[in-house]
């Protein structure tokens, strides 16, 4: 019994991006006792930037560590950078809006940073257990930040999020258990190798495991019928939290789906067919729900649901085309959603936020914000030349090329219907209105910075998509989704 313990290859370099954000989170936790909140936010931003720098240095390194549990390949790095961008925009927004949202204490920043750590762990994961832990770190922090505001709305939102999230996690874990039973391994590579041939022994179990994983992930990314928490949580939680949940958390959950379904389970039958059904339901429900919203935050929540459908479309494609399409779309989605919600956060007086009526004549009161919002909405609606068009185009094309013609047509029709509810607020803003300004009047420069990032990003990436897409377009990146 005295054989020495043979530790796996522990390399710290690929761990660095996660470690830096974790350090930032711990710093926020501890320094919170001594420093004012804004200083903590600044420290968090710095650690995000440092983490981003470390990711850039790892680019094309293809490092792995911990026996393949951790993969710092280009997929992880590109999605990690998107996550950092979304988090940075969130922090910029909270920098000045947190006080108004009654969230101005260091614990909020700390939880946010923990959540970022969890999301990165998902993106970098090389096996199901690591992914699961990342997902839980992200979800638990998410439950906390959704509830943290001292208001009935936020508490209701947090409670719903937590209860449903716990059920979603349980489904996911059960799926992991079944997949383990069918393949005898938990690492992506092992699962892929075990399912590569035709001689898988317990196909039924494998398929159901995959489907349960799909349901669990479906909850995290808000695919119908697992989407119902989204409007309540995004709408009930403070706007900056809604921003974080609808961008960073969704990106991370998609990263997990990409790893699991695009990489490990690429050859498993049936999940693609089910995902197809879920996508149709999601697009229909998201768009129909958004049509009837008068509260802008809820409208954005339904819009996020609809976009989940479009995003998931890219998952159906062959990873060589679907992967880059998904990554590009996630980046664009993050920029435009964060930009839109940053405008809301800058202008709202209360967290119950903005009704569409409040937007009437916005152009005459805040021309710059109105134009920025119009750009973001146009991009969300998929109008060229903004990047949202390109993202949808690439996703549709990936699905079309993989042979999902009918689905692509339905999705394209959904995007047509979506125009109605995106253009409605956009039009309202430019209508003359003589009522006095009722937007928040105070200082909000950092939030404006986030808006600028979103608008500039959406415009530049729409005209020059290769700035981002060119980095990930190489198909070789996407053949090693599961590792090796």
């Amino acid at each position: 019994m005295n054989t020495p313990l043979i530790l796996p290859d522990v390399a710290l370099a690929p761990l660095l991006p996660i470690a830096i954000t974790l350090l930032g989170a711990i710093a926020a936790t501890l320094l919170g006792f001594f420093l004012p909140r804004r200083a903590i936010t600044l420290i968090s931003m710095v650690s995000l930037v440092l983490s981003g720098v470390s990711m850039v240095t790892l680019w094309n390194g293809g490092l792995t560590s911990f026996g393949g549990s951790l993969q710092a390949d280009n997929v992880a790095l590109s999605i990690g950078l998107i996550i950092l961008l979304g988090s940075l925009m969130t922090l910029l927004v909270t920098y000045d809006s947190a006080a108004r949202a009654k969230l101005a204490f260091p614990e909020f920043d700390a939880m946010l940073m923990y959540a970022v750590t969890g999301t990165l762990l998902i993106a970098f994961s090389g096996d199901l257990v690591t992914m699961l832990i990342g997902l839980e770190v992200m979800s638990l922090s998410g439950y906390v930040i959704a509830t943290l505001q001292d208001s009935r709305r936020a508490e209701e939102a947090g409670m719903k999020y937590f209860l449903l999230g716990a059920v979603g996690s349980a489904i996911l874990i059960y799926g992991i258990a079944l997949v383990y039973g069918a393949t005898g391994t938990l690492s992506y590579v092992g699962i892929r190798d075990a399912t590569a041939g035709l001689q898988v022994q317990n196909v039924g179990l494998l398929v159901v495991g995959a489907l349960l994983l799909l349901c669990g992930f479906g909850f995290k990314v808000a695919l119908a019928p697992f989407h119902q928490w989204t409007p309540d949580v995004y709408g009930g939680a403070p706007t900056s939290v809604g921003l974080f949940l609808s961008t960073v958390v969704k990106v991370a959950a998609f990263a997990g789906m990409l790893r699991v379904f695009g990489g490990a389970m690429q050859n498993v039958p049936a999940w693609a067919g089910v995902l197809q059904v879920l996508i149709v339901a999601t697009i229909v429900v998201g768009n129909l729900g958004a049509l009837f919203q008068t509260n802008f935050k809820r409208l954005m929540a339904y819009s996020a649901v609809a976009h989940t459908g479009f995003l998931a479309l890219a998952l159906l494609g062959n990873p060589a085309t679907g992967g880059p399409a998904l990554t590009y779309y996630l980046l664009v989605y993050t920029l435009m959603t964060a930009g839109t919600l940053a405008v809301v956060s800058a202008l709202q007086r209360t967290e119950a936020a903005f009704t569409l009526d409040d937007m009437r004549g916005l152009f005459y009161r805040h021309p710059a914000y109105a134009v920025a919002l119009a750009v973001c909405l146009g991009s969300l609606a998929g109008l060229p030349p903004f990047a949202g068009f390109m993202g949808k185009y690439l996703a549709f094309q990936a699905a079309f090329q993989a042979g999902y013609v009918g689905l692509t047509i339905i999705a394209a029709m959904g995007s047509v219907a979506a125009l109605i509810y995106y253009l409605r607020p956009a039009m309202l803003m430019f209508m003359p209105d003589r009522t006095p300004a009722r937007e928040y009047p105070g200082e909000r420069t950092p939030t404006t910075a986030a808006v600028v990032i979103g608008v500039v990003g959406v415009t530049v990436l729409g005209i020059l998509p290769n700035l981002a897409y060119g980095l990930v377009a190489n198909p070789a990146i996407w053949t090693v989704l599961a590792g090796r």
Binding site: V129, L132, I133, E136, L140, Y143, V144, T147, R152, R153, E155, E156, A157, G158, M159, K160, F162, L163, A166, V167, S169, A170, I171, I173, Y174, I176, A177, L178, Y180, G181, G184, T185, L186, P231, D232, G235, G236, F292, Q293, R298
Partner: protein, 102 residues
């Protein structure tokens, strides 16, 4: 001692999982909903252990440790949320939380 086939354990865990699910839907206080979730998690653990025996591989058992820790963390956060809400509303009835809708 003759060994019980893995199938039996899986079937048991499946039924336990379904029971948990029913509990989530029919229990009306947040704590009880959450207890039902614990039932579901235990079902998953049970099947993991059963599969670990089937493969003769300790990975399954070790994963159960992780899941247990995870469940414990979830309990801590979940109960904190429940307590926080109770302080303001004096109720843990989940049906009372229905002001956000539509």
């Amino acid at each position: 001692m003759e060994s019980v086939p893995t199938s039996y354990y899986i079937a048991l865990s499946g039924i336990l999982f379904a029971l948990g699910m029913i509990g989530v839907l029919t229990r009306r206080t947040a704590i009880m909903v959450f207890l039902s979730v614990e039932l579901m998690l235990n079902a998953a653990n049970l099947s993991l252990v059963a599969f670990a025996r089937a493969w003769g591989d300790l990975v399954g058992q070790t994963a159960v440790f992780i899941v247990m820790t995870l469940a414990a963390a979830e309990v801590a956060i979940g109960l904190a949320i429940i307590v926080a809400i109770f302080r303001k509303r004096e109720t843990t009835n989940v049906d009372d939380l229905a002001s956000l809708k539509g």
